[in-house]
């Protein structure tokens, strides 16, 4: 009749019926996505909007965006466990869950992304050390493991599970090694975020995306890291806010949100600094050296300059200012809006890096094509979001995700 005994101590949850109803909605979307996955696996990627021009599509864009937004996990962990920013204690659990969701979701999408999923393990068996994708494969695999390890202690803190002595001690020991895993996770996620950016940066045959490098890493390697770090914390904070809205309960203190905003703002500012330099270097160096003018790499509405402008100004400089300036940061709606803008910025960035890079005709006599994803691409993506909602819902209902919840909801 009731799962009350599984709830974290001292907090209230909605009725089981309501929860089940909610889960039904989530499962419906999930089912839709699973069906789409079946269709893709059975019929091949032809059912997607991808083609010979767009080797990558919504799946990759979604993955890149989701992984960037999930960066809150490793960065928060880094700040909390290593830099010892105490304030993050109140949101670290959510960050880890979001990270877990984002990375596991990305992994799920990747199984749809390859043409021959039954051979995907070749990536481990015949790895090409020169491929950024190999780096992505290994990093995401190991980081998924790390995120799982980081998630486990939280699960073990379920009221019921925590009663088991062995599991209790296990959880405690996990906490002891958290800093190590925070470091490893940060390191791996840096590399993973970076190698995702590097996937485009090493394409010396694609002037829109190609970037020269620092050692073996193209600049997009670092920019992807920075942009993820700049948007991840904000996303985490936004998710918390969304959960507060949906549950009607206060889950984290606003100061924690503001702290996340400040962190995001700082990193966003740093990112913007380098992004502008990178954009300038691209504009002044790579483009003319490739015989291209600035105008030639934009086309119509789908690949217009408005995207660059939005990414850099509206979703870059503007929210950075808003987040850095204390007054605007401390105004809730401005904080949330700025965070949303920052997240949109990283999504735009991932889109232009993927779609526009591939859309831009490198050969002078080639033409632009516009990529439009199909239902078979939207469905799995929405399903991953539903999957995330499921994980978050279950975690929120049964695990002590928010340390402050009890105090904030007397």
């Amino acid at each position: 009749m009731s799962d009350k005994e599984l709830w974290p101590e001292g907090v209230q949850r909605c009725s089981l019926k309501l929860f089940i109803a909610w889960l039904a909605v989530v499962f419906a979307v999930l089912a839709w996505g699973v069906y789409a996955a079946y269709v893709v696996w059975a019929g091949g990627l032809i059912v997607t909007g991808m083609d010979n021009y767009f080797a990558f599509g919504l799946y990759i864009i979604f993955d890149l965006a989701v992984i960037a937004l999930g960066a809150g996990a490793f960065f928060s962990g880094l700040l909390y466990y290593l830099v010892r920013v105490e304030g993050l204690k109140n949101i670290i659990n959510l960050a880890v869950i979001i990270g877990f969701i984002c990375y596991s979701g990305a992994l799920l999408i990747l199984t749809l992304e390859v043409g021959q999923p039954l051979r995907a393990w070749f990536g481990f068996w015949h790895p090409n050390v020169h491929s950024m994708l190999t780096e992505v494969i290994f990093c995401i695999t190991v980081y998924m493991l790390v995120l799982t390890i980081e998630f486990i202690p939280l699960i073990l803190e379920n009221r019921k599970l925590n009663k088991i002595k062995f599991l209790h001690h296990l959880a405690h020991n996990f906490h002891v090694i958290m800093p190590l895993f925070a470091g490893i996770g940060a390191f791996l996620s840096f590399f993973h975020q970076g190698s995702l950016g590097g996937m485009y940066g090493v394409l010396f045959s694609r002037p829109y995306a190609f970037r020269e490098g620092f050692f073996i890493w193209p600049w997009t390697f670092f920019l992807f890291i920075l942009s993820a770090v700049a948007s991840g914390p904000g996303f985490t904070m936004l998710v918390a806010t969304l959960m507060e809205k949906m549950t009607g309960r206060k889950l984290v203190d606003f100061s924690v949100k503001a702290l996340m905003g400040k962190i995001a703002g700082t990193m966003l500012a740093i990112y913007m600094f380098f992004k502008f330099l990178d954009t300038w270097g691209w504009y002044a160096g790579i483009l003319p050296r490739s015989g291209l003018t600035f105008d030639e790499v934009f086309y119509g509405l789908a690949y217009g300059k408005w995207l660059l402008f939005s990414e850099l100004i509206i979703c870059g400089i503007f929210p950075a200012f808003l987040l850095l300036y204390a007054k605007t940061r401390n105004t809730p709606w401005i904080l949330y809006s700025a965070a949303i803008l920052a997240c949109i910025g990283v999504i735009i960035n991932r889109y232009v890096q993927t779609a526009q890079t591939l859309a831009h005709p490198v050969m002078p006599f080639d033409r632009w094509y516009v990529y439009v994803p199909t239902w078979a691409e939207w469905a799995p993506s929405l399903a991953i979001i539903a999957y995330g909602a499921l994980i978050l819902s279950l975690s929120y209902r049964y695990l002590p995700v928010f340390p402050q919840e009890r105090k904030l909801n007397p």
């Binding site: 039954l118 051979r119 393990w121 070749f122």
Partner: protein, 718 residues
């Protein structure tokens, strides 16, 4: 040990752990991956020794030589034959797809009879031949009650058909219309040969040398040989035609004139040549010719009619004058439906330039000696006008035959005003001797499928546009895949049953006889030396020994003999009478430039499966094809790229999208032939619309021959 939950879980854990130490998991993963490399629903390869079979292509009239590569005896790929003068190792896209057409879904697999519901049901050959005999016997003696349309313009099968029709009392044997119709009005005997290989300046008036005119691959080979990469070109090519097609883009110079206006430009060139003192004294009508040209085809007149600047005309004339071995090639931009005027006008330049029977010039090519005794002469057959015949029937001005015998032709689809002319065949008993289920076969009452050219013996004689007389056989590379029978054998069989003696037991014997008659001409095999080399002076040994034995094993016979005395006429009478109208047509103001390309098949063959990748975004979007026009023309008619447009002709209309292509002349719209099929298979069916429907026939003054190359349409946004 106790069987409880914990024990069971532990047992399972032990099992899982144990499994990790066995190949079950790893082997399964590995084998699954290997399975993905060999999915059972994807065809496997069959192995066997590699070999080649030499044959000749019958997919279009060019008659290129093919080498069919076989693996374990199976034909797999068609390649060009280096020793065949009409291919020299290369082939066109259509020929490259020859082998795969063996298994085209469009192939007719057995004799079929049309049912009341319109479908066709398989019947046996006994039944089929009986039906044919029955239908034909009913018409024996009735004059022209049996008509025959042959799509094979250079095969000996025509002799068999004409002889058979003769026995039936009919002279209604027609070839599908082509360039030879116009040529027959200029050339009474033999055919005109163009020694492209030895020319140092080739000016094509309308003739789409590099894609659809005459001996296509040979033309390309000559073109390629004259401009070997890294070397100075040995010949210059000028294309005078309505649009910048493959020939126009490949030529060193493209001069744009509207279809059928090439003749006017040609005479404009003649004006300059005459001015500079060139004469064709050997021509009986030179004086008249000169008077006519000098008085009529002034630069101003030519410019007014064609839009070509006088300087351009003068420059072209100068090029021709300065060339050592100039060659002027007349033709229609679609290798059909052209008038005699342009043909004669352009041809006359050769006489002015005095290149008759000279290397790099024009030659008169001999006809092959006939093999079938009662067959009509080829020149007679060539001069018959199928379009007029069908027009008359459709208009009720002529009697509709009771039986149509259509051989490897698709008149229902590929005649000008196709939808109109198709009515001329409705109601008659239509017998289709075809390899494929084309539109004509779809309408036919009896289908008597002939084997694909790779499955039978057949011959190709001196195709139009050749520079020499040639003879080669198609040879069976594989036993017929389906229940098909060579049409020649069917005819001979039915004739025998009907008591007609055509003189042969099988079609192979006809071919043997044909080969035997080749000794009447001076010929040689082309394995060591090519005909143009002989024309340029190379020595050669005459063909000797058992010709059939050699030719049936793939050898190619050629002759550079000049068979007839040359009675040269500049065609002044035709030129004065057959000139095109000067008036504009405001109802149908835009000139339609039909495009014929081997990338879309041939007049007989719908686009094959393997040619579909040649269709790009310039030709198709979805199921709608494009018509091309330049930006000014589009703007004048309020059209923009990608918009739907309706082309309306006097008797038909088509809908297409607009492609802006600056290589189309002013006030012209280019539309590709070969689209809009309704029969065939899913590879060619339902793509675009049939441009033949808007090709409109006019009759040339003075010759009364149908001309449809210069059709006009009205264009508007759809």
């Amino acid at each position: 040990m106790a069987l409880n939950r914990r024990s069971f879980l532990t047992f399972a854990a032990g099992g899982v752990a144990g499994t990790l130490f066995t190949p079950v998991i790893w082997k399964s993963i590995d084998d699954t991956a290997i399975w993905t490399q060999n999915w059972p629903w994807i065809p496997r390869l069959e192995y066997g020794p590699r070999a080649y079979a030499a044959t000749t292509c019958k997919l279009c009239p060019a008659g290129c030589g093919l080498n069919i590569r076989t693996a374990g005896g199976r034909p797999v790929v068609a390649e060009g034959r280096p020793d065949h003068p009409l291919s020299q190792g290369g082939i066109c896209p259509l020929g490259a797809a020859a082998v795969q057409l063996l298994y085209s879904p469009a192939r007719i697999k057995s004799p079929m009879q049309k049912q009341e519901d319109g479908t066709h049901q398989p019947i046996s050959w006994e039944q089929a031949e009986a039906l044919l005999q029955e239908k034909l016997s009913a018409q024996t003696g009735r004059r022209n009650s049996v008509a025959c349309i042959s799509g094979d313009e250079n095969g000996t099968i025509n002799e068999l058909f004409s002889a058979f029709l003769g026995k039936l009392g009919s002279q209604a044997f027609f070839l599908m219309p082509g360039e030879s119709l116009a040529a027959s009005r200029v050339m009474k005997q033999g055919s005109i040969g163009f020694d492209i290989e030895n020319a140092d300046l080739v000016v094509a008036f309308g003739a789409d040398l590099l894609d659809s005119w005459g001996t296509i691959v040979r033309n390309k080979k000559a073109y390629g040989a004259s401009r070997r990469i890294g070397e100075n070109p040995s010949a210059e090519y000028v294309y005078v035609g309505p649009m910048q097609n493959n020939t126009g883009s490949g030529a060193d110079q493209w001069i744009s004139v509207a279809p059928e206006q090439e003749g006017i430009l040609a005479l404009g060139v003649a004006y300059h040549l005459l001015q500079s003192g060139l004469m064709a004294n050997q021509a009986h009508d030179f004086s008249a010719y000169r008077n006519h040209v000098m008085s009529r085809y002034t630069p101003e007149y030519v410019q007014r009619m064609t839009g070509i600047a006088p300087e351009t005309v003068a420059s072209l004339a100068e090029k021709l004058r300065r060339a050592d071995r100039p060659l002027v090639i007349p033709g229609s931009s679609i290798s059909q439906g052209g008038g005699v005027f342009s043909f004669a006008a352009a041809l006359s330049l050769n006489f002015l330039l005095n290149n008759l029977d000279s290397p790099g010039g024009v030659f008169v090519l001999p006809e092959m000696p006939q093999a079938v005794a009662d067959a009509e002469e080829r020149s007679l057959i060539r001069s018959r006008d199928l379009v007029t015949y069908l027009q008359e029937i459709a208009a009720g001005r002529a009697e509709k035959p009771a039986v149509y015998l259509v051989y490897e032709a698709n008149p229902v689809f590929t005649m000008p005003q196709a939808n109109t002319l198709a009515t001329a065949m409705q109601g008659s008993y239509l017998v289709s001797f075809s390899t494929f289920y084309d539109e004509t076969a779809a309408q036919a009452d009896l289908l008597l499928p002939t084997p694909y050219f790779l499955e039978r013996f057949d011959d190709v004689q001196t195709p139009h546009g050749a520079g020499f007389a040639s003879y080669s056989l198609t040879r069976p590379v594989i036993q017929p895949v389906f229940d098909t029978k060579p049409t020649g054998d069917v005819l001979l069989g039915v004739a025998e049953k009907m008591g007609f003696d055509l003189g042969f037991a099988s079609f192979d014997k006809v071919l043997e006889a044909k080969v035997a008659n080749l000794t009447e001409l001076e010929g040689f095999f082309t394995d060591k030396v090519q005909p143009w080399e002989v024309r340029a002076g190379a020595s050669v040994s005459s063909a000797s020994g058992n010709l059939w034995r050699s030719i049936s094993r793939g050898s190619v016979w050629a002759s550079t003999q000049v068979p007839y005395d040359s009675e040269v006429l500049l065609g002044t009478r035709i030129l004065t009478q057959a000139a095109p109208p000067e008036t504009d047509d405001w109802t149908f103001p835009v000139r339609l430039v039909a495009m014929d390309s081997r990338a879309y098949g041939s007049r007989h063959i719908a686009i094959p499966p393997f040619l579909l990748p040649l269709l790009g975004e310039q030709e198709m979007q979805g199921n709608t094809f494009y018509v091309w026009m330049n930006s000014v023309t589009a703007k004048n008619y309020g059209l923009a790229a990608q918009e739907l447009v309706k082309l309306t002709g006097p008797t038909g209309e088509i809908t297409a999208r607009v492609r802006i292509f600056e290589g189309v002349g002013p006030n012209m719209v280019a539309a590709p032939l070969g689209f809009g099929h309704t029969a065939w298979d899913q590879f060619s069916r339902g793509k675009g619309e049939n441009v033949y429907n808007v090709l409109t026939v006019r009759y040339e003054p003075g010759t009364d021959l149908p001309v449809w190359a210069d059709s006009r349409v009205r264009i508007a946004k759809a």
